[in-house]
Symmetry: C2
Subunit: 156 residues, 2 copies
């Protein structure tokens, strides 16, 4: 099973709301994660993509990229959202493609700190678009990762 | 049926994801809306309230307050989220209480513009807390309302 399929199964198993978002992870390259989600379960009263679904999917996408990057470097990682900003650019009357990214510099710093200190912060930027690329929302966020295999990385 | 019960039914009927958030509107006074949502359907992999559920519920709460305030002033209103910021303060291991507010000044300006111009913007601030008041998240957002009974308020 790929890292991506395994992570999607863990997420759906542990976080009930994510089953109803009907997301899938499409592709992961370092610093770059694609997700998809259909309109039907995420529709609003106007027949477009519900702003709350967009917020939940983007929050999940940033968490997933931080988790994948963390788990590529240390054995067991715990990731939480710290803060986020979301700008709704245009209504979306189709399925959604989410593109979640971390810059090369931020990713290097994150990896170095996570390995050395057992905890690190990652800045994420993301877009939520139609499958043909019209942007509906822009998102930035910070996530905190802790290496759970180290006593100082664990928070009880 | 109260405005609040009717709005909750409209939301659950038109926006499928909101059924799975299992929210309820508790109380509405001008500029002040309370919501509640249980932990179980919104839990994450750590046994605490999923950040994506928090984002979706806060987004819904701001939309609902703007809709209630708009519908108190014009016959038919359409509300969309414009932008939001969310700060996760502490994990929440209980049900959630959401307190959504608009200041008196912002609300007067919103009401005046909506009636005069057929469209207006409302600034919202909110907290998501445990039932005993420990704050888990702070949220600010802007919503746009349009009076659908006016031709210049309608966007197609």
């Amino acid at each position: 099973m790929s890292d991506l399929t395994a992570l999607a199964e863990r997420v759906r198993g542990a976080i009930p709301l994510t089953r109803h978002l009907d997301f899938s992870f499409t592709r992961w390259h370092p610093g770059d994660l694609l997700l998809a989600a259909p309109l039907a379960p995420n529709v609003n009263d106007k027949g477009t993509f519900f702003a709350g679904s967009q917020a939940a999917l983007l929050t999940l996408g940033g968490w997933a990229l931080t988790t994948l990057e963390g788990e590529a470097r240390v054995p067991q990682v715990d990731v939480v959202a710290a803060e986020s900003s979301l700008q709704y650019v245009a209504p979306l009357a189709s399925d959604a493609t989410l593109h979640i990214q971390a810059s090369e510099d931020d990713l290097s710093r994150f990896a170095r700190r996570l390995v050395r200190r057992g905890r690190a912060r990652l800045a994420i930027s993301a877009t939520l678009s139609s499958p043909s690329g019209e942007i509906a929302a822009r998102f930035t966020a910070h996530y905190l990762a802790r290496d759970l295999s180290r006593p100082d990385g664990r928070v009880d």
